[in-house]
């Protein structure tokens, strides 16, 4: 049984999705989906423990060996991502389990959960597979299900947002496919291990530069690297808040892993940084994202949109870490995947709590909420402090690695820029905190009660994790640094 865990990791949520459609009854679907999410977490946890213990697992799908068959390859690096995705899913899916919840009509709830499970399955597939074409397939599974998820948001704008997400996502997917196609043409294989072995022979050719270019642009779109981030703010703003929480915490993170894998494992750091000089493009783009995203966030009047722009800035930190091409840098990037997932997931769940009671995510409507929803708002404060990177929160851990990496390479200006941009987070977080705690509640509004327990518990699990993992970093930074070492070594 346990030797089939790599397959089950993807197959369980994938098969569970149609079961949701068959079950149909909302409560039953909810409970079923939660159980599936928890089982995927158990599988991912077991896989991580196994690879930490005894090294990389190679699983041949259907017993067919590569290159004819598809290989699933579990390393420390992707087991870490598997745990990230499944643990966020395990916390977000039970959100509001007992209550009516969210803007999605009751009679279509089962579709939401089915799409959710498909999306989880796709994300896990992208991460676990050792086959370049298979990555594309799961990328499409993820994308299609997330278009559906976004479109379930409230109002017509959600449809518009899902549509532009679909267009840009398809362009990104196509670019990746073109890149994969060119690589296949030059090497005759789609297996990642084989690719990394055969590519050096053909590396000098112009085709490979083109292939790399296609891969990069496609992944930059999926990852929402500035200036290819246009799809993200609308998608996160108009999707149901729980969907925003899940996507913000996982979708871009998985794309980041694919990026790291393409750069370090398939093409190799020597080629990408030494010959092509990716860092000369990616460092300025990352800095632009960090400042541009944060400045844009400051001017937002909708909390969800504010958090979305903040995500663009945070993705800038991650890509910056990657472009240092050093152990501390990549560790910083990888640990920030986890850290950002917790804080941003938690903050979007706070928004979900508020919209459940208030039906508004406009900053202005949050006046005086500090006294009316004290527990929810305390979660916002903690999550906000984490976003700023105050010591004892996870944000500090990420920042520590990134600034260290910059200092080690004597990039003092970049180090200063990282710190300076984290200050912009103070501005946009404090804008909300002042509104919530210092302004009087709107006159004549209905009294607002605290969110129900079924929502507060998942929110506080994520928010509490931002403090816990800010102090105990063995599971996050410890594993991330092993994963970074593995990726940097170029061993597939």
């Amino acid at each position: 049984m346990t030797e089939h865990l790599p397959a089950l990791q993807v197959v369980v949520p994938m098969l569970a999705a149609p079961v949701c459609v068959l079950l149909r009854r909302t409560q039953a679907v909810k409970v079923f989906a939660v159980l599936v999410a928890w089982s995927t977490l158990a599988i991912a946890g077991t896989l991580l423990a196994t690879v930490l213990d005894s090294g990389t697992i190679s699983y041949k799908m259907g017993g067919w060996a590569a290159p004819a068959g598809i290989e699933y390859r579990v390393t420390i690096a992707n087991a870490y991502i598997l745990v990230l995705v499944t643990s966020v899913a395990s916390v977000v899916l039970p959100f509001g389990l007992g209550s009516a919840g969210s803007s999605v009509p009751q009679d279509r709830k089962y579709l939401l959960f089915a799409a959710f499970l498909l999306c989880i399955s796709g994300l896990l597939g992208i991460t676990i597979t050792g086959d370049a074409f298979n990555v594309f397939v799961f990328l499409e599974v993820t994308s299609l299900s997330s278009y559906a998820l976004v479109s379930m948001g409230h109002g017509r704008r959600a449809l518009m947002a899902a549509y532009s997400y679909l267009i840009l996502g398809t362009i990104g997917g196509t670019f990746i496919l073109l890149g994969v196609g060119l690589m296949y043409q030059m090497t005759g294989t789609l297996n990642v291990v084989d690719l990394s072995e055969r590519l050096p022979e053909v590396m000098a050719s112009r085709t490979m530069i083109v292939a790399f270019g296609f891969m990069m642009v496609g992944l930059f779109i999926k990852l929402a690297v500035f200036p290819l981030h246009q799809w993200l703010p609308n998608a996160y703003t108009y999707a149901p808040s729980t969907v925003s929480a899940f996507l913000a915490a996982t979708a871009t993170k998985v794309s980041y892993y694919v990026l790291a894998r393409v750069v370090f494992t398939i093409f190799g750091a020597a080629y990408v940084f030494g010959e092509l000089g990716l860092d000369r493009i990616l460092i300025p783009l990352s800095l632009a994202a960090m400042f541009g995203g944060s400045v844009a966030a400051i001017y937002q009047t909708n909390v969800k949109r504010l958090l979305a722009y903040s995500s663009i800035a945070q993705i800038g930190y991650m890509t910056l870490g990657l472009s240092f091409n050093s152990l501390d840098g990549l560790t910083g990037g990888l640990v920030h995947l986890f850290n950002h997932a917790m804080m941003k997931g938690g903050l979007f769940l706070v928004v979900a709590c508020v919209t459940y009671r208030l039906n508004s995510s406009m900053v202005d409507d949050w006046r005086g909420l500090g006294r009316r929803m004290p527990i929810t708002m305390a979660a916002f404060v903690v999550g906000g402090l984490s976003l700023i990177g105050v010591p004892t929160t996870v944000g500090f851990v990420s920042k520590w690695y990134l600034v260290s990496a910059a200092v080690q390479q004597d990039k003092l200006v970049v180090a200063g820029a990282i710190l300076l941009s984290s200050l912009l987070a103070v501005v946009y977080v404090w804008k909300i905190i002042e509104t919530v705690y210092f302004k009087a509640p709107p006159e004549g509004g209905d009294p607002v009660a605290e969110a129900p327990m079924s929502m507060l518990i998942p929110t506080w699990i994520l928010i509490g994790a931002t403090i816990y993992f800010g102090l105990h970093t063995a599971l996050t930074a410890g594993v991330a640094s092993k994963a970074a070492a593995l990726l940097l070594s170029g061993v597939p």
Binding site: L385, I388, G389, V390, P391, T392, V397, K399, W400, V403, S404, V407, Q408, L412, A415, G416, L419, L420, S422, L423, V426, W430, E434, F438, G470, L471, H472, T473, A477
Partner: protein, 498 residues
């Protein structure tokens, strides 16, 4: 009680007290204040348990947890930290008495939040005092910033909110951009963040980088209120007076200069700075801060604002002492932490007592008030003389030692600066006293018109008068027992291997 246990307990006790205060809340204010007082006394008692060992030359420590490889949350009490911990926890007892009188006399709102945040701030200050390394210090430094924010914005008015922005803006900006930069840089250059006698940077960094790194630490410690990053301190005066007294004359600002001293002594090492002259520019900045803030203080009519600018100048005495990079300079700076704390808290207590007793905050309206509030004004006189640096009061010793430090390093010009600053202090502190006793009382009808019942005789609530009198006595005691203080601090600059 072992010193190790006492270290942990004294950081935790205020937190426990805070939870107690929050649990009791507004339901029973007397019980709530009881919890505060008991906590303060217990905390001071616990801190005192550590003292004998430190005096005997031990450095008890406690490791809490390793956050990242090399980043350890850990405490270790050395003489400078012992001094700061004593000052903070000792004056907390007095301030709590005072705060009860003040908050009730002034009918302040949200008293539960006030006492809770106060306790959190003291816990953070003790954490800073005990920090074994820069990382621990930084963690508690930031906790101190965020726990005092609700105290600064206590009134919840537009003015308080604006002051809160300035407060947080400057303190977070400097600490995140400069201080954290300096810490990460140090970690990567020196390979450690642990404070060590003689410093950890000698031979590891040179040239312009040394200057820049010192600048990152000096300006990054925004709480030291070195110009041009001093604006937050006058802004913080919008807080209730007990906050200004304990936090913005003692705990917060002293945490700043304490950090500067620690960094100079245990990270750079005074030999490195003396040999390279890397801290000479810092002396100039400190001297500029001393003189210009004293001049600004002369122009302020609001008593608390005047005291705030006076504090900015006095803090730079300590920065100046550190930047001299001489042993007497460092010791003088260390002593000044205690001397200035006790003197300045007295003055703030008086400012608050006048506000509660006579409803006056502008100096020009306080004519003749001294005859009616004799105890308060006597305490004011003693506190002022100590700040000015006249015997037989504590302030004279620290100023004397600082002058010695300047002489030791042959920084003659800075001796002149210190002397001029004393004259300026006479200029801004004495008029309050002189007006109070020697000018006839003004009967201004335009003032306090809406407070009809306040025209009655100024009263001195016991809990507002007793604390300044106690701290005034403290100024005298510090003069008498200054030697003990000096002896305790002396090992921090003792020659290695001697």
């Amino acid at each position: 009680m072992t010193p190790e246990f006492a270290i942990g307990l004294s950081v935790l006790l205020p937190v426990v007290g805070m939870l107690g205060v929050l649990l009791i809340g507004e339901r029973n204010p007397d019980a709530r204040e009881g919890v505060t007082l008991v906590t303060t006394v217990l905390t001071l008692g616990t801190v005192l348990q550590i003292l004998p060992g430190v005096q005997a030359g031990e450095q008890p420590g406690l490791e809490v947890l390793e956050v990242l490889p090399g980043l350890v949350l850990a405490f270790e009490v050395e003489p400078l930290g012992m001094l700061f911990a004593l000052v903070a926890s000792g004056l907390w007892v007095v301030t709590s008495l005072y705060a009860i009188g003040y908050m009730r006399g002034h009918h302040e709102i949200n008293q539960t939040r006030f006492f809770a945040c106060f306790a959190a701030a003291i816990s953070a200050a003790l954490g800073i005092a005990y920090a074994r390394n820069l990382f621990t210090l930084f963690v508690f430094y930031e906790i101190l910033t965020f726990s005092t924010f609700p105290l600064v914005t206590h009134a919840g008015t537009e003015k308080a909110k604006k002051a809160g922005r300035t407060y947080l803006g400057i303190l977070v900006f400097t600490s995140v951009v400069f201080l954290m930069f300096g810490i990460v840089w140090t970690a990567n250059v020196a390979g450690t963040l642990e404070f060590a006698k003689g410093g950890i940077l000698a031979g590891k960094i040179s040239g312009w980088r040394l200057y820049v790194l010192l600048g990152l630490f000096a300006f990054g410690t925004g709480k030291a209120a070195l110009m041009p990053f001093h604006r937050w301190l006058p802004a913080a005066m919008v807080a209730p007076t007990p906050v200004s007294a304990l936090l913005h004359a003692v705990a917060v600002v002293k945490a700043g200069v304490f950090t500067v001293l620690k960094v100079v002594v245990y990270v750079f090492g005074i030999d490195l700075l003396a040999d390279t002259g890397a801290s000479q520019w810092l002396m100039a900045v400190a001297a500029f801060t001393i003189l210009s803030s004293s001049l600004v203080a002369l122009t302020k009519d609001n008593l608390k604002a005047r005291l705030a600018y006076s504090t900015i100048g006095q803090l730079s005495y300590i920065v100046l002492g550190a930047a001299m990079a001489t042993s007497a300079g460092v010791l003088g700076g260390g002593m000044h932490i205690a001397m200035h704390a006790v003197g300045k808290i007295t003055l703030f207590f008086v400012a608050g007592a006048i506000m509660v007793g006579a409803h006056k905050s502008e100096i020009s309206t306080m004519d003749g008030l001294g005859r009616r509030m004799p105890w308060t004004y006597s305490a004011y006189l003693i506190g002022s003389l100590s700040i000015i640096g006249l015997p037989p009061l504590g302030g004279s010793w620290s100023k004397w030692t600082l002058l010695m430090g300047a002489a030791e390093g042959e920084h003659w010009i800075y001796m002149v600066v210190l002397l001029i600053s004393s004259l300026l202090a006479i200029g801004y502190l004495m008029p309050v006293f002189v007006r109070g006793f020697f000018l006839p009382e003004k009967h201004d009808d335009h003032h306090d018109d809406h407070h009809g019942d306040h025209h009655a005789e100024p009263h001195e609530p016991l809990l507002c008068v007793l604390p300044p009198v106690l701290t005034a006595v403290g100024c005298v005691l510090l003069f008498v027992y200054a030697e003990n203080l000096y002896d305790m601090l002396a090992p921090i600059v003792a020659v290695k291997g001697g």
